[in-house]
Symmetry: C2
Subunit: 139 residues, 2 copies
């Protein structure tokens, strides 16, 4: 529980909180419960941990809000997710659902260094669309 470190699981909860707040302006525990397919009790537990680590503001029966630290962290995670999913979808040609599902696992593992290279590679491939054309014809 080294204060600032987040497990994969807690990263998922934080990501969900961030996305919901961005979409709706607020988020309720039961929404998280449904989105992540876990019990309400598990959500309570996870939110307490995130609050203790200062990623969100939260107390018994209180509204959930996200801190600046939480926003920063959530953006990092979501950026990783997007870069990975984009590589799978746009370059490898994987169907969206599968791309998203696997990206969701990898986002917790990939290093900043590899992510940066992968992002650059995505951009490179966008700038040379005939490349992907050629790959799609073979594979």
């Amino acid at each position: 529980m080294s204060d600032k470190i987040l497990s994969s699981s807690l990263e998922d909860y934080l990501e969900c909180v961030y996305n919901r707040i961005n979409l709706n302006g607020s988020v309720k525990a039961i929404e998280i419960s449904k989105e992540l397919s876990v019990s309400r009790a598990s959500v309570t537990e996870a939110l307490n941990k995130l609050a203790q680590k200062k990623y969100i503001n939260y107390g018994r029966y209180e509204m959930i809000s996200i801190t600046d630290l939480g926003i920063e962290k959530a953006k990092e995670i979501i950026n990783k997710h997007n870069v990975i999913q984009s590589f799978f979808e746009n370059i490898l040609g994987i169907e969206k659902d599968e791309a998203a599902r696997v990206a969701c696992g990898i986002e917790h593992i990939i290093t900043e260094n590899i992510l940066q290279k992968l992002s650059a590679f995505n951009n490179f491939c966008s700038s040379e669309p005939e490349l992907i054309e050629k790959f799609r014809q073979k594979g």
Copy 2:
């Protein structure tokens, strides 16, 4: 513990057993302990689970051997590892250690479908080396 399913952790143990047996003809628990940086006790526990699931042959104070099922599974895992590591090293230009370390996490998550596409993409890029040249100059 649904009989044939292996957790990430057990996949790591099996991979290690397979590699050691291939290199040296045999493997001892203490070697696994060192390679995976876990206690001897944890190795005993993991080996018992792998034996129960029929991936290895193993009993108290007995030599460890791998079953046909184990070999098949280990090859799958190692193939995943190699495809991922190769993409990181040869295409993104990641340094070997980091490529191996991250591949070791992803190999437990990636689907067969994505792996197959990634492998095809590795081959495609090998057949067009000027591509990677160009990317390296930009990124």
